[in-house]
Amino acid sequence: MRKRDIISAIFWMGFGAIFAIGGLQHGLVRQGIPGPGSLPFAVGLICIGLSLVVFVQALIKESVPSTKFFPQQNNLIKLALSLVAIVGYGLLLKSLGFVLTSFLFLLFVLALICREKWVITLSFSLLTAVLSYILFTALKVELPQGILGI
């Protein structure tokens, strides 16, 4: 865990520092009372302090053999593809509309990540997209219409 603690501690120190500096810029005191930057500054400093303790502890601690960070490296591609699918959904939702984007999203995930049979992929994607459209419309959720106009 030594290396992982060092990396994460440095990250949280940086995170705390951003808020502490931001807090300073927003002002710590206004007309004798705490300003909008006071608490972000204080909590940012505490975050840095705590991360520093984790960092020092990790440095002192003897290195023990830890588990692999990515034990199943072959599956990382699935992870990356699912993130691509999420970004794609966000990019296409407004222009293509809910039904078409949802259908394409499910098609992409089922075909490329799950590697399901085409019959299952097509029918599952179509059914889910249409049924969820009916459900969300009934629940009065506003959905983007896009090029299909529904």
Partner: protein, 500 residues
Amino acid sequence: MDALSHLLLSFDIALNPINLFFCFCGCFVGTFVGVLPGLGPAASISLLLPLTFALTPVQAIILLSGIYYGSMFGGSTTSILVNIPGEASAVVTCLDGYQMALKGRAGPALGIAAIGSFVAGTFSVVMLMVLGPPIASIALKFGPPEFVSLTFLGLTLVTYLASGSMLKALIMACVGLLLGFIGSDIVTGVERFTLKLSVLTDGLGLVPVVMGLFGISEVLFNLEQGYDKAEISKTKILNIWPSCKDLKDSAGAVTRGSILGFFLGVIPGGGGLLASFVSYAVEKKVARDPETFGKGNIRGVAGPESANNAGAGGAFVPLLTLGIPCNVIMAILMGGLIIHGVEPGPRLITEHQEIFYGVVGSMYLGNIMLLVINLPLIGIWVKLLKLRYSLLFPLILFFCLIGVYSTENNVLNIYVMMIFGVVGYLMRKFEYEPAPLVLALVLGPIMERAFRQSLIISSGSPLIFFSRPLSAVFMVAAITLLLSPIILKMIGKERLQLKE
């Protein structure tokens, strides 16, 4: 109003056909979520939160709380039949429940889990109704300093009871508070840390954060680990009702589990998980035959299952009376109520009676519904376990996407959720718990407002938190808890030196 009129009021609200329908939906979805490994109650409540925006606050909280206690009820099924806990607090049930199933006693194990959950659930609702109003009336006397110190104590308890490193949990609480500062300042209106993004002006949305940390990260983790189909125990479930001997053996365990579970549920950071573990330890300790635990002892199922359900009911006490969520699910419920324009706190019982008594009444009825949903329909729930994860996870992703979009009809929320999904996945790898972060995120803005109000009252002197008796008690307790690991370490070293 006396207790009877409160009870009548709660049933009057809960028996309204629409409320009854949402109570049933919540219990049904909760059981579904509880049975299904890989979809916890936190993710599913946040998933369904946007769908409740079209409902009234009472209907919304009845539905969402139903999911919570329903998941506690259903979580035992997979533990007993497959040795895979449907949700975290059913982990302990695996120990004896699965062993009972292997010995051909899956039916009585499922039966006693359901009966214990029903008894404990009902007990916790009675306690919520009895304790709620007096606690709220005491809390009404709280000023901003008391609220700050109580919240501080709550957050400290959450980090103290974290299953991993307390230091890391404290960092997570700080991160949650810092994320809570994003958005317009409540006192001056100045925009802070928004990166000039419109989606951040009103602060970081709770729904994208929770869906990312719990829903997306879970999917990413399962995808990386590779998903296998669960092996269902081949045992036929013949008789679901436990024998008289089973009931006699379990009576003590159910009683102890109910009482213990309720009080552990009330403590911030406690809840179902801690309650079930403590109950198992207690049962083993008081048993005349501790060696039979882990080999299919019915008390090892009855105690923890009662405790986690009582804990789920207990968790509503601080939320509905003090406005302090003591676990992630309560934090999401609190976020949901705030979105609906209802601020949980001491005034809730007087100003929004229908919400408090609606929850109470729906929990009474919900526990009966759960008994009906779980026992006779056990066959259906078992079949659900055959649902392939390769079909389930695209659905989880899809509902997360549409759920998070519909909160504000803003595509940027999808990206916020994705970022937190990756953060949650990495946090799991680096062994950081997301619970303190979410709690601090919800409590952060409220705590900041009270903190600054307190300092305005005291003209900038922080001593106000120690000069008022109740606030001082909370503060001293929190500081003692924070320092306790260091103190204990020092005492340990001294003892070691003395021995040497």
